[in-house]
């Protein structure tokens, strides 16, 4: 790839050890890579290979035992807890496997949540941004629906809107389609591809090898190390795949 593109994420020999009793678990054993602006990266690997641990590093929820991590040019390793909280608030959008919406709370309020911790937004700007994000994920007609009044796919789209609302440098998704059926998974994937097309940087952790075909790059982890890092020059269209799925019976 052309080297003049902007580097959003840079890892330099990142290691993460966990002490469990007297033993040390090496969850990451020296991981280095750069992720450029506008990439859609899938991270794959067997269970226990360190995917979530890596994502927690990228999301500034955790700090490396050793090695350097630069997010949008700033070093994260030396940051305090509250500095990292601020960084997450401004630069990162999370999408979780189990949605993690606030209970009994409307879609708009859920999406507003990250902006609540950003004092440069006032109430009306917050709402405006939240509505825009919900429109972007195709939920313009579900603004006031509460989280328990929506389907899994809708909830995940609210979660994606929440990850978009702060206009982050990178969107991090851990098994974002893990709880969804095939059809809904593809709908969510279509959404991610749309965001990719709009120029957003996405890192998507998954078990499902199929998904890698819809991303622009795939990183394979094994035992805390990078096993394979390949650019996908033949990105499939999730929208086409969705159209080719067998139609549900009661349609």
């Amino acid at each position: 790839m052309e080297e003049n593109r902007k580097v959003v994420i840079e890892l330099q020999n990142v290691k993460r050890d966990f002490k469990v009793g007297s033993e040390t678990v090496h969850a990451l054993r020296g991981v280095s890579f750069k992720i450029y602006e506008g990439e859609f990266v899938t991270i794959m690997g067997t269970s226990g290979s360190g995917k979530s641990t890596l994502l927690n590093q990228l999301g500034c929820l955790d700090t490396p035992t050793s090695g350097e991590y630069y997010l949008d040019g700033t070093s994260v390793r030396e940051m305090s807890k509250s500095q990292r909280a601020r960084l997450r608030n401004r630069k990162i959008g999370f999408v979780f496997q189990n949605y993690n919406l606030l209970a009994k709370t409307t879609a708009v309020e859920n999406v507003e949540l990250p902006l609540m911790y950003n004092s440069s937004y006032n109430a009306s700007q917050r709402r405006e941004a939240a509505i825009k994000a919900l429109e972007a994920v195709g939920l313009a007609d579900r603004l006031e629906h509460k989280s328990n009044q929506m389907s899994g796919g809708q909830m995940q789209r609210v979660a994606i809107a929440r990850a978009l609302v702060n206009n982050p440098a990178v969107i991090l998704a851990d098994e974002a389609t893990g709880n969804l059926d095939t059809r809904t998974s593809f709908e969510v994937l279509v959404l991610f591809q749309k965001l990719h097309a709009e120029g957003r940087t996405i890192i998507f952790v998954t078990h499902n090898p199929e998904i890698a075909q819809y991303s622009s790059r795939n990183i394979m982890l094994r035992d805390g190390k990078i096993r394979e890092d390949v650019i996908n020059n033949n990105i499939l269209s999730a929208a086409e795949a969705l159209a080719n799925l067998p139609k549900p019976q009661d349609d």
């Binding site: 999301g59 807890k81 509250s82 601020r86 608030n89 979780f96 990250p114 702060n166």
Partner: protein, 408 residues
């Protein structure tokens, strides 16, 4: 996160667990209401006692025989209670006291009073004419006896309203009638204006006032007084008047410099203060007892907040991952616990207020809620909210976002 949003979140959290929040508020409600009621009754009684005493006249000074019991503490022998003699009174009368306007020696006797077939038990006060001015009494029918009556030890008296109605139930005019007190005949020359009951429940109209000479010689056969009542020129010079009287009496009794007074002088003001501070003491004890229930209520809040924090671990993890700092999280839970205790406090003040109104109408207890008690209640509730919310809030703030968001 700004303050208004934190309050909104707290309200939402409290409302989504209405019953539980109410139960933890209940402790605060009961505690605050108890404190308010105790204060209302304490303060109310104090005010009514003060009012009663000041109605009697705040410039009254009482001279009593014997050393001050409060200071001495030694049980007095009977002779030490006979130090106020007729000579003392006469000497005081002759010396020109600057700050004393009136003076009346007092000898009392209790017993049956009879007129015809009617009788009543009452107390006769042997006094001088000036007694009326000192106690601010008025003779409505007839007249007060005179200094001449005192000189001659005449068997005359003025009677209180209660005595009048007891002895003359048919409403006939007592003036000029001769009643008998302990079989000694007294001619009624006047009837006192009614003063009603005082705050200790004592009937202030059940009395006879007769010349002190008459009571001393004809009833008690004694040469000493049970007290001498004086009034200071004004309330402000009461202390000077006391000093003046003390110096004079010490000289009369020929007391050496180091000797203690063999009499005790107290002003009404002083009595009122003693009374007030006793009432204050009782109030404080009651309020402290009630305040302990607030402590228990605070522990209840802490308990509920700990449950709330644990229940919302996942929410805490989510908030942290989207950028909430530990500080934001602890504020959120602190505001919630403050809201619970403050709401409880507001309801408690209202309950206490209505309960004390109920007390005063139902049991005729005088009540009054000082404004500062309400302000202090709110401050205390806020402090409880912060104090007992701090630990749960800190627990929430210290959570690790990765573990918290995985919590099921």
């Amino acid at each position: 996160m700004n303050f208004l949003n934190l309050i909104k979140i707290a309200i939402k959290a409290i409302r989504s667990n209405r019953f539980r929040s109410f139960l933890s508020m209940l402790g605060i409600i009961i505690g605050v209401a108890a404190v308010i009621i105790m204060m209302a009754i304490g303060q109310g009684s104090k005010e009514s006692v003060r009012q009663n005493i000041s109605q009697m006249g705040t410039n009254i000074i009482m001279i009593q025989p014997g050393t001050d019991m409060m200071r001495g503490g030694v049980r007095p022998d009977p002779s030490s209670m006979q130090t106020l003699k007729l000579e003392d009174y006469n000497a005081l009368l002759e010396s020109d006291l600057q700050f004393v306007s009136h003076m009346s020696p007092e000898v009392t006797a209790s017993g049956q009073c009879i007129y015809g077939a009617n009788n009543t038990s009452t107390t006769v006060y042997g006094e001088s004419v000036e007694y009326l001015d000192i106690r601010q009494l008025e003779v409505t029918d007839g007249e007060m006896f005179t200094n001449d009556d005192i000189k001659k030890s005449s068997k005359v008296c003025v009677i209180g309203k209660t005595v009048a109605t007891q002895l003359f139930p048919d409403g006939s005019d007592p003036i000029g009638k001769t009643i008998r007190f302990k079989s000694i005949p007294f001619k009624v020359v006047g009837v006192l204006k009614s003063k009603g009951y005082n705050s200790f429940g004592m009937d202030q109209d059940n009395l006879l006032i007769a010349p002190y000479t008459t009571v001393m010689k004809r009833i008690q056969a004694q040469t000493y007084f049970s007290s001498i009542n004086c009034s200071a020129l004004t309330e402000e010079v009461t202390d000077y008047a006391i000093d003046e009287l003390t110096a004079k009496l010490r000289a009369l009794h020929k007391l050496k410099d180091f000797a203690e007074d063999d009499f005790t002088i107290r002003s009404q003001q002083e009595m009122m203060d003693t009374m007030s501070s006793t009432m204050d003491m009782i109030t404080i004890i009651l309020v402290v007892a009630a305040a302990f229930s607030l402590l228990v209520a605070g522990i209840g809040i802490m308990n509920i907040m700990l449950v709330s924090v644990t229940e919302r671990t996942k929410e805490i993890g989510l908030r942290m991952s989207v950028g909430a700092r530990g500080f934001d999280i602890s504020c959120q839970f602190l505001i919630e616990s403050i809201m619970i205790s403050l709401t409880g406090g507001i309801i408690g003040v209202l309950v206490g207020y209505f309960a004390s109104i109920l007390c005063s109408t139902l049991f005729m207890l005088p009540t009054s809620i000082p404004l500062w008690a309400i302000v202090v209640s709110f401050i205390v509730c806020t402090v409880i909210g912060i104090g007992f919310g701090y630990f749960p809030a800190r627990k929430a703030a210290m959570m690790d976002p990765i573990e918290a968001i995985r919590y099921e």
